[in-house]
């Protein structure tokens, strides 16, 4: 299925992926009593944040992420996506790491878990990182900065 006017869009795959992400976050909430916020859990796993989450559990969640991706790519024949060049990845990674710790969350914690709870902090965080995300891509396109390897 495609969206009229958006030939590149994959709304059904997006929705299916989103439902799975929501289900995973629901399992964390109802099963472990915690927010499935990847930046916070990763920081906890690598000893870069304090918190009450057992580090073994944080590691288990982080290890699950590529495991799930491996299951999906093993079962489907999707074309391999292309990633930015190493220098761009380093710059982006540093900014994401600093920003998510200062901002107490990312797309999963603030986006999926916080917005669905109507958390004021998360709604503001999401509006902010969406706005700067839009602005960054617009600025890079205007300046002709590509990110292909």
């Amino acid at each position: 299925m495609t969206l009229p006017g958006f030939p590149e869009a994959a709304p059904l795959a997006g929705l299916a992926g989103g439902v799975l992400i929501g289900l995973a976050a629901a399992i964390m909430l109802l099963g472990a009593g915690r927010i499935a916020g990847v930046s916070g859990i990763a920081a906890r796993a690598f000893g870069l944040a304090d918190g009450s989450m057992p580090r073994a559990g944080a590691w288990a969640f982080v290890i699950g992420l590529p495991l799930g991706a491996l299951l999906v790519t093993g079962l489907t024949e999707a074309p391999r996506p292309s990633f930015a060049d190493p220098v761009t990845l380093v710059i982006a990674g540093l900014i994401v790491g600093i920003g998510t710790r200062l901002g107490s969350g990312c797309t999963s914690g603030h986006g999926v878990c916080g917005m669905s709870r109507l958390s004021q902090r998360s709604l503001v965080a999401v509006a902010t990182f969406m706005a700067t995300g839009f602005a960054t891509v617009a600025a890079m396109n205007a300046l002709g900065i590509g990110v292909s390897p």
Binding site: G18, L29, I41, F46, L48, L65, P66, P81, G133
Partner: protein, 139 residues
């Protein structure tokens, strides 16, 4: 140990699978979504919409539970204050997200898809987290 890890590894695996199916591990698709003023790709709105709908139902169930199914109690954020740190950090995160089309979850998930690229991103992200940790004087 088993009890502490089974729920997170199940959740992490389903999460990683969902990210991959939804297109979040494809930087071109993510940047297409962020290209609001160009060739906008709305797919990620469906990802976020689906996830938020399921989680909204989960929050309704959570309010009726005295404790989680496999833990002693809930450990949930309870802050409600809007701080410069929250807004500045989120603004920075959005910039990094826009540059490479990767956020933390897909960064880890992509270790199974493009290991070298994902490892560079994840290592730099952890270094960024370490910077904040050291600035806070807790390193």
């Amino acid at each position: 140990m088993i009890r502490e890890t089974l729920v997170p590894i199940a959740a992490g695996t389903i999460f990683g699978g969902g990210l991959t199916i939804g297109g979040m591990t494809d930087p071109a698709r993510v940047r297409g979504f962020l290209d609001l003023f160009g060739a906008w790709d709305p797919t990620l709105a469906f990802v976020m919409g689906g996830a938020v709908l399921v989680m909204a139902a989960a929050w309704m169930m959570q309010r009726k539970l005295l404790r989680p199914f496999f833990a002693e109690g809930f450990s949930l954020p309870d802050r409600n204050d809007l701080t410069p740190r929250l807004i500045g950090g989120s603004a920075l995160f959005g910039i990094g997200w826009g540059i490479a089309g990767l956020c933390p979850g897909p960064g880890f998930a992509a270790l199974a898809i493009a290991p070298a690229s994902a490892a560079i991103f994840v290592a730099a992200m952890l270094a960024g987290m370490l910077v904040v940790r050291l600035m806070e004087g807790q390193g």
